[in-house]
């Protein structure tokens, strides 16, 4: 019973976050609503017994990506940022498509009979580790390469265009 309550609480929080983002115009608010959503979903993972995924979610997403986004917000937000609102026609069309999609998905979900076999035991991190390096070794290596590429790409893209002289002394400081 408690689990259901918690589930609806967290689900409610996540959805509320989504809706709040839709409605709000200040980008900072949106960023923080995203963070609440991420934490809510993390909580849901805990609820589902996937502790490792939950923690990774919070660590990687909230700790990393969210902060990155907040950085993006701060770098680009100007005091007098104009309120960017979507056009009216777009909103109406979007609402329509959104409802249709939602309706379709929920209908499909409700109609199919999921094979409800036994609840998997809350597995330990070790098994995930083993499967990560066993069954999923291929993807694991690929992801590592991808991350490297992404890092290089991002670094290259975000390099300072204007050759800032940088503080004269910055060159060649050495830390023992």
């Amino acid at each position: 019973m408690l689990e259901a309550v918690i589930f609806f609480l967290l689900a409610g929080l996540a959805v509320a976050a989504g809706v709040a983002i839709l409605l709000s115009t200040s980008i900072v608010r949106m960023a923080y609503w995203l963070i609440t959503m991420l934490i809510a979903v993390g909580g849901l993972y805990f609820l589902l017994g996937a502790y490792f995924v939950g923690v990774i979610q919070i660590l990687v997403y909230v700790g990393g990506v969210a902060v990155l986004l907040v950085f993006g917000v701060m770098l680009t937000s100007r005091q007098l940022a104009p309120k960017l609102r979507p056009g009216r026609g777009e909103v109406v069309w979007l609402a329509l498509v959104g409802f249709v999609l939602l309706e379709a998905l929920t209908l499909s979900i409700l109609h199919t009979r999921w094979q409800q076999n036994a609840m998997a035991p809350a597995n330990s991190v070790g098994e995930i580790g083993r499967s990560l390096l066993g069954e999923f070794l291929g993807p694991f290596e690929l992801v590592s390469v991808l991350l490297l590429v992404a890092m290089l790409g991002a670094a290259y893209l975000a390099r300072p265009k204007v050759p800032t002289q940088g503080p004269q002394h910055a060159k060649g400081t050495t830390v023992p």
Partner: protein, 392 residues
């Protein structure tokens, strides 16, 4: 001299659909290192144009501590003006008084008894040590190390006690008056002074361990705010700032006054051990070495302290002959100059005071660009500005 022009690019108008220049800096922020700021040593306001952490331009604003000292000088008799000189560079009041007194004496042709001279030297150097202690301590504070300040103040307290014993005041002494010294030091003062010097000598090494040679400190100050000698001369830097850039120019040696020529001391100069010549570390370290030299001077002066009158015969209301004089004194922060024009009346016709900090501060806009925000604090601390002198 590389012309360092202020690269300031206006942010493009949002709605302007025109051609967008290719290299747009990120958002530029204008910061107000306002009058109330922990690292501005008094009411100095610096407007910074920053691009993220990088500072593009700094323009100091002054005038927050302006008390019209020079105008008042015209209304006030010479003697009455002495207390005002204390408040010019409130950290080195003795030297200010000395400067003013020497200027008047030079114009008035007043002869000062030798004991007064030596007393003047002793008190000036003690005041220099106190002011340098203040500078190094607060510089540490700027760098984020809180402990050195406390240690420096510990010794400064001792000096303050000595001053208090001598002239009853801890900060604004107005002890050195026209014609000599207000009153003689109590006896045993010299022994107390020697006791202090013996105690103080090893402490300087302690500061060096604590702050000067601290690796983080060196990182924060080395190669920051490098002021080449030519730039220093061009902007009229004087005092530790000038000597930090490697120029050994000290009025006490260059144009010795009140018996400095008889004393033996040497002028510390920045050699750029930890970074370039003329960087913040050099200016800081020059001050530390000057403290050592001051101790030597005081010791020699104490030894030469002969008995005799401390006050020359000067009428209560000093009347100077019409004429003008410009007399400079080596203040802990640089050359403090008094340009006295008298029309023969009891009060000067016009008194122009050259504050060393004023000139030293002028180099900030030149050194600031391309520094980081934290370096500004370091730079400002190394220049060691006292607003009293700047605003007068």
């Amino acid at each position: 001299m590389k012309e360092i022009e202020l690269q300031y690019r206006h942010p493009p108008d949002l709605l302007d659909d025109g051609e967008i220049p290719s290299d747009i800096r990120t958002e530029e922020l204008v910061l107000n290192m306002g009058p109330q700021h922990p690292s501005t040593h008094g009411v100095l306001r610096v407007v910074l144009q920053t691009d993220g952490e990088l500072v593009l331009g700094a323009t100091p604003y002054m005038g927050y501590l302006h008390r019209c000292a020079e105008k008042i000088a015209e209304k006030v008799t010479y003697r009455q003006f002495t207390p005002y000189t204390d408040r010019l560079d409130y950290l080195a009041a003795m030297n200010n008084n000395l400067g003013f007194a020497l200027a008047v004496e030079k114009l008035g042709g007043i002869e000062v008894p030798p004991r007064a001279d030596y007393l003047r030297v002793i008190f000036a150097e003690l005041n220099r040590i106190a002011s340098h202690l203040m500078a190094t301590g607060s510089y540490g504070l700027d760098m984020g190390a809180f402990t050195p300040l406390v240690y420096c103040f510990r010794e400064r307290e001792w000096i303050m006690d000595l001053f208090e014993a001598a002239c009853g005041a801890r900060l604004t002494y107005s002890y050195i008056t026209i014609g000599g010294v207000r009153e003689d030091v109590p006896e045993g003062w010299g022994d107390k002074c020697r006791e202090f010097l013996d105690y103080f000598e090893p402490k300087i090494a302690e500061y060096n361990d604590l702050l000067s040679f601290n690796h983080i400190f060196i990182n924060r100050t080395g190669n920051v705010g490098i002021c080449p000698p030519e730039l220093a001369v061009a902007y009229g830097l004087t005092g530790p700032c000038l000597r930090g850039s490697g120029l050994a120019w000290d009025l006490r040696k260059a144009t010795p006054y009140c018996r400095y020529h008889e004393l033996d001391f040497d002028i510390p100069v920045g050699h750029g051990e930890n970074g370039a010549v003329g960087d913040c570390w050099d200016r800081y370290f020059v001050r530390v070495q000057e403290m050592v030299q001051s101790v030597r001077i005081i010791r020699q002066a104490l030894d030469k302290l002969a008995d005799g009158p401390v006050q020359a015969k000067v009428p209560r209301v000093v009347k100077l002959p019409a004429g003008e004089v410009y007399y400079e004194v080596e203040n802990p922060r640089g050359q403090l100059g008094f340009h006295l024009v008298s029309d023969g009346g009891t009060s000067p016709y016009r008194l122009k005071i050259r504050g060393p900090s004023f000139c030293n501060l002028s180099v900030l806009p030149v050194l600031a660009p391309n520094c980081l925000l934290a370096d500004i604090a370091a730079l400002l601390g190394s220049i060691d500005v006292v607003m009293g002198e700047v605003d007068r």
